[in-house]
Assembly symmetry: C2
């Protein structure tokens, strides 16, 4: 691969990163406006509580650190209650305050690392694809993970907005 | 701007287009598996019906054709019932069959045009920004619209999935 024009590559990466940040900031503002009591609301009858979705999103974003090869996880203990187990299948072991702190901590670490990644590095493989498979499937890159997780943020934001106002 | 490396630009654009198509195909499969009767279901009590969200998504995607400067709209008549008016504020004037046909027609036209756009053209301005403003804010490009509307698809997919199974 010859050296690409730096500006065009920066614009592609910059547009994708701006979209990620915008989606995340909107959801962050929504959660910030929800009281701890209201985190117990379900997005629809017998569906996930806001509390569970908050923990779920923290855990999924925490997993993005190694998946994007940006660093080690900060809160692997959240997988069990918020990814492996369904909502309300076990007592809550995390307080709302601790969960909110983890949400901010993980998103800050992740977005800082995302912003520091050189633009062309978005086209490098993500951690879950082998070098051999990646040679055949070059779209399995870090950018695909960012877009997929951005989609995941929006998927749950749509649900959360059913019971929480736009901030 | 010097000529960029074609492959790296294709990979950036290709990853974003693949993400758009994947999100849209998943939602298309979900709608295809919902019966016309079940389109009357609300995603949550007193929230939008699936029927309304289907029409809303057709109208928003139809607007993407001029917004991305890819062509004229196909169904501007859907704005009134599905963007301007809220759900159930007027009798339905479109049948489920007509709405499903418009959904397929619009998405096919849009995705064909999206796939035909040269990679570097994603960094050109979208229709809603003036050339003057775009010179100052180069992230207001076609790619930003694609990512924003991809986010919109996911926002409503999260809601639709509360009452419709993954196909």
């Amino acid at each position: 691969m010859t050296q690409p024009d730096a500006r065009i590559v920066d614009l592609f990466a910059g547009t994708a990163v701006a979209s990620w940040k915008q989606n995340l900031e909107r959801l962050d503002a929504i959660f910030a406006a929800v009281s701890d009591d209201d985190l117990q609301k379900e997005v629809a009858p017998r569906k996930n509580r806001l509390f569970y979705l908050l923990g779920h999103l923290v855990a999924v974003h925490d997993r993005m650190l190694p998946l994007l090869r940006l660093g080690a996880r900060l809160h692997p203990e959240l997988d069990e209650p918020f990814i492996i187990k369904a909502d309300r299948t076990a007592p809550d072991t995390v307080t709302p305050a601790a969960l909110r702190a983890a949400w901010t901590e993980v998103n800050t670490a992740l977005t800082t690392a995302i912003e520091g990644l050189p633009s062309a590095a978005w086209l490098e493989r993500h951690e879950a694809v082998s070098a051999e498979d990646f040679a055949k499937e070059p779209l399995r890159n870090r950018l695909a993970v960012l877009l997929s997780r951005s989609a995941h943020v929006q998927f749950h934001t749509g649900q959360i907005r059913l019971v929480a106002k736009q901030a």
